[in-house]
């Protein structure tokens, strides 16, 4: 009972916030809606029994990515984040207009049709019930997977993150002309 409710709430939060992020005309609100969507996904992970992934989701996205995005919006000066009817160059406003949305929605329709084709096969192939779901502690299992089967990926991810850190620091560092 509770789990179904949790699922329903999370799903509604996820989808609703995502749609909110897509339609709002303020980038700041968009980021906050993204936050809601990500929290909802964390809830969905929780309903899937993936407690560690859920908390990681909250930790990285809520604590990190969203704040970073908000920082980036602030750093880029608050000029572009409210929708503009038109700017000097005659470009579409930063948060989109009806034409861009039309293109986006048409493409989305294509993707939906394509994916429905793919998903139906998968759903037909697998019954909608849990198979052998007894993972009392995902943390320990994930830990074992990380140090055994995926140890290379684990170590390489640290290198990847180092690369990201160094690269982003170099890119973002203020320069003379900047």
């Amino acid at each position: 009972m509770f789990i179904e409710l949790l699922f329903l709430t999370s799903a509604l939060l996820t989808v609703g916030s995502a749609i909110g992020a897509a339609v709002t005309r303020n980038i700041m609100h968009s980021c906050v809606f993204l936050l809601g969507s990500l929290l909802g996904i964390a809830g969905l992970y929780a309903t899937l029994g993936a407690d560690f992934v859920a908390v990681s989701q909250i930790m990285v996205y809520v604590g990190g990515v969203v704040i970073l995005m908000l920082f980036a919006v602030m750093l880029t000066g608050g000029k572009d984040f409210v929708s503009r009817a038109q700017n000097l160059l005659g470009l579409a406003p930063a948060m989109g207009n009806k034409w861009t949305y039309t293109i986006g929605l048409l493409t989305a329709l294509v993707v939906v049709l394509t994916n429905v084709k793919l998903i139906t096969n998968v759903v037909k192939a697998y019954p909608a019930k849990v198979i052998g779901n007894d993972f009392p502690s995902t943390v320990n299992q994930i830990g074992h997977l990380l140090v055994k089967e995926h140890v290379l990926a684990f170590e390489l991810s640290s290198v990847l993150l180092l690369g990201a850190l160094v690269g982003a620091a170099i890119i973002a560092r203020p320069r003379r002309q900047g």
Binding site: H29, F52, I67
Partner: protein, 372 residues
């Protein structure tokens, strides 16, 4: 999911009686128990938060050799209630330039973030609302909502003081999250798990089993955690985001009435939670410094009392620090975090790992007194 309050109660007979009362619907009963306990906990924490303001004033007055609040109630004890009523009756003002949606949302996020952390706070070995397998990790993660709330609050006000305070606050909170996380990681290493149940069960027995005395690195980690946590809750000497003399009032400059109250409440409860986590991680939680091994309900209550006492002692230290130490400059703040605390925390982590491998998981006391 390990030990929760429901599973603890279910070993007693009256649980079955209750179950019958609820028509054998375990979920409903669990919901009822949780709801009651949650309300109790929230009420308690709100009181503690309110009393926190009182204690703060009293202690600061004591330190500065003056009286402090003494009009409302005996020794001014009901001051916080008066404050609360005052907040309720204040006019609700919002700047016309503000981002209204976010202006409303920010205090809510702070409140949600802080309340959600209460779920895993280990009041005693049996009275835990939820003992997640990812307990500490969950706590760190969900409390980062507060940082976001600070930023959004500062942003939404569209006042320059607020904005500066919000940016500072957010960057300070996320910075100090790193040493705190690394210290917690060291404890996870020692306990072999992230759930509070596991962590507490490793600290049962005498005082030498507390993780703070497990090895020298854990001892240092406690202080790293303490400083980091203090900064994460924007407490002095790290109260840069709301520094009165620099930024008027920081990110909540434009907040009035109840919304300001929620921010304040969130902050005080967060201090309490942080102290409680420090207690649970390093100071043995509800365990006494000596060994008692009777498990009856009164023991659980005793543990709750012990836990709260220890937490309040830490709380006292936090307040004491606020009125003793001068505020840091913003560049000092950052270098303290990144150039001192973080390297030290990494050093502690490495030290703990090496200690574990070298001494096969034995604590210092085991080595000195010989283990069993």
């Amino acid at each position: 999911m390990n030990q929760t309050i429901v599973s603890y109660l279910s070993q007693y007979e009256f649980y079955d009686v209750l179950l019958n009362l609820f028509g054998n619907n375990q979920g409903l009963l669990a919901f009822a128990i949780y709801l009651i306990v949650a309300l109790v906990v929230v009420g308690f924490c709100a009181t503690v938060g309110g009393l926190g303001t009182y204690a703060e004033r009293k202690i600061s007055a004591d330190l500065q050799a003056r009286m402090g609040p003494n009009r409302v109630g005996p020794y001014g004890l009901l001051q916080f209630l008066a404050d609360g009523v005052k907040m309720l009756t204040k006019e609700d003002i919002m700047p016309y330039t503000a981002d209204k949606f976010l202006f409303y949302l920010a205090p809510l996020l702070a409140l949600v973030g802080v309340f959600a952390t209460l779920a895993v706070l280990p009041w005693s070995s049996g009275f835990m609302m939820a003992d997640l397998n990812v307990g500490v990790f969950y706590l760190i993660a969900i409390s980062s909502l507060v940082g976001l709330a600070v930023f959004l609050g500062g942003y939404a006000s569209n006042s320059k003081w607020s904005m500066l305070g919000g940016m500072r606050g957010a960057s300070q909170i996320i910075s100090y999250e790193i040493p705190v996380t690394l210290s917690v990681l060291a404890i996870t290493l020692l306990a072999g798990g992230m759930s509070f149940g596991t962590i507490l069960s490793h600290q049962e027995g005498t005082i030498v089993n507390w993780f703070i005395f497990h090895n020298p690195f854990a001892f240092i980690a406690f202080f790293v955690y303490g400083i980091g946590a203090m900064a994460e809750t924007n407490r002095a000497p790290f109260d840069l985001p709301e520094a009165e003399s620099e930024l008027v009032s920081g990110y909540h400059t434009e907040y009035t009435g109840l919304r300001f109250g929620f921010f304040a409440l969130a902050e005080y409860i967060e201090v309490f939670v942080v102290c409680g986590v420090g207690t649970a991680l390093f100071l043995g939680g509800g365990n006494l410094p000596f060994n008692i091994s009777i498990d009856i309900i009164p023991t659980q209550f005793a543990q709750v009392v012990i836990f709260v006492t220890k937490t309040c002692l830490l709380y006292y230290v936090v307040i004491w620090a606020r009125w003793t130490l001068p505020r840091l400059r913003v560049d000092q703040l950052m270098s303290v975090c990144w150039k001192y605390l973080t390297p030290i925390a990494i050093f502690n982590l490495v030290g703990c790992a090496i200690w574990l491998v070298m001494f096969n998981g034995k604590s210092l006391a085991d080595l000195v007194f010989g283990s069993h």
